[in-house]
């Protein structure tokens, strides 16, 4: 990793908004691949997460990291890159924070990571009831449904949502991934989801793997770098 790359990670870690944006722009102009840039920013975000865990950082800092991430995605060269790729979206995800919960920092980060990885995301926002998930899935026919939540009782709510998909006979039309700090393999099985993630990167990895499977049978595998 060269000096500038290291510096970029450092700026993200230290939440230097302006410096991150300036340096990102510079790196892109020098020819850095957008996905490489995102990897670097992501590494910085992971470090912010660690600093939050070690109590050096506050909630406002988590939010600052999210804002920086979002603005990097909105840089001209980034949007241009993703626009070119527009017809090559690798999959569609309907995403929302489940009823009763209005925490959305994690959901928004997951959404950003999905978009950066060429997914089309329909974000339903927070406190989304099961009927709305069902209706929007009928409307948008996504490959994947993503349910987010941090409150403990979202386990029950997530199960209710999966159940309503079962009851209406559409469960096998969509892969379901649930995400949140409190989820475990055992809880995921109880909910009836296909998989779960405690962090956004592994969530994206799972979704990409699913799409590889789905896309392989439907069209040629798209090289998403």
């Amino acid at each position: 990793m060269n000096k500038k790359e290291q510096l970029l990670i450092k700026h993200v870690e230290q939440l230097n908004e302006e410096e991150v944006l300036k340096l990102s722009d510079e790196l892109l102009k020098e020819g850095m691949a957008p996905l490489r840039l995102l990897d670097l920013v992501n590494e910085g975000m992971n470090r912010v997460g660690k600093l939050y865990e070690s109590k050096d950082y506050y909630i406002a800092d988590l939010i600052m990291a999210g804002l920086i991430f979002k603005q990097v995605l909105e840089l001209d060269k980034m949007t241009a890159h993703f626009r070119v790729k527009h017809n090559n979206k690798i999959g569609k995800v309907v995403l929302g924070t489940v009823t009763g919960d209005i925490h959305d920092i994690g959901k928004d980060i997951f959404r950003g990571m999905l978009e950066a990885n060429c997914f089309e995301v329909v974000d339903l926002g927070v406190d989304v009831p099961k009927e709305v998930f069902l209706k929007k899935c009928e409307e948008y026919q996504p490959d994947i449904l993503g349910l987010s939540g941090v409150l403990t009782n979202t386990v029950d709510t997530m199960k209710e949502i999966v159940d309503v998909f079962k009851e209406t006979g559409v469960r096998d039309k969509v892969k379901i991934i649930v995400g949140g700090n409190h989820l475990t393999k055992e809880v995921c099985r109880f909910i009836g989801a296909d998989n779960f993630a405690n962090d956004a990167s592994s969530g994206v990895r799972i979704c990409k793997k699913w799409m590889d499977g789905i896309n392989e049978s439907e069209r040629r595998v798209i090289d998403n770098g």
């Binding site: 908004e17 506050y58 406002a60 009763g100 209005i102 406190d127 403990t152």
Partner: protein
């Protein structure tokens, strides 16, 4: 029977009043409020405290499930007893026998929440210092995007008038409305006196807390009476 209470500092006013009103003077181990910002660290801390108890029959936990912070705890040397409730907000706002529905668009305050060393007030002041006024506004707009109210819960354990001006200040700075609502300490009183019925998770010595104890999964498994 030898009892000890392990309690979150956030609930100190409420627990002290509950002790006064019930006449129970069990020893209390106070755990810093900060831990509730990180359920895994909370779990580790509570386990340390549980493991260091000697000659105790029942450890009473003045905690809710707290983002699964209690799930996974092992009852190593004594039975564990905890209110079967989501967190301390539902603990002081719920009514006996009624299903509690948390109000949406509302951030809850008690004196205990306001005094935490990482409270939303500390967050705000720290953000001002680190990011300046304009960025702080941006950050709090995102943080509280889905919120319209601050609700100061009058649990009876402190004088709400003492907290009003501070709460009003933050409400003004963040564009939220401050409301005051009545809360209760029946849950904490019952934690001290029993009976340990379906309102409680009772984990006999040797077993571990799992999510079913909080009635969040497989409700029928959830209670045993001591």
């Amino acid at each position: 029977m030898n009892e000890v209470v392990i309690a979150c500092q956030t609930l100190s006013d409420e627990l002290e009043l509950a002790m006064q009103e019930t006449g129970c003077r069990f020893p209390v181990i106070w755990v810093e409020s900060d831990y509730h910002n990180d359920p895994s660290q909370l779990r580790t801390k509570l386990q340390e405290e549980i493991d260091s108890q000697r000659n105790i029959d029942n450890i009473l936990l003045a905690y809710g499930c707290c983002g699964n912070g209690l799930v996974g705890l092992r009852a190593t040397g004594a039975n564990l007893i905890a209110p079967r409730t989501e967190d301390c907000i539902s603990m002081v706002l719920s009514q006996p026998g009624e299903k509690f529905e948390r109000l949406k668009q509302t951030y809850f305050l008690t004196k205990g929440w306001m005094e935490g060393s990482k409270s939303i007030f500390v967050e705000y002041d720290r953000a001002l210092k680190r990011y300046g006024e304009q960025r702080t506004k941006r950050l709090f707009d995102v943080m509280l995007k889905h919120y319209n109210y601050f609700m100061l819960i009058d649990t009876g354990a402190y004088n709400p008038a003492d907290c009003l001006s501070k709460a009003e200040g933050l409400a003004r700075n963040t564009g939220l409305k401050l409301v005051v609502a009545k809360g209760d300490i029946w849950f904490l009183k019952k934690l001290l006196t029993g009976p340990y019925d379906q309102d409680f998770c009772v984990i006999p010595k040797g077993e571990s807390v799992n999510i079913s104890h909080f009635g969040l999964v497989q409700k029928e498994l959830s209670h045993q009476v001591l």
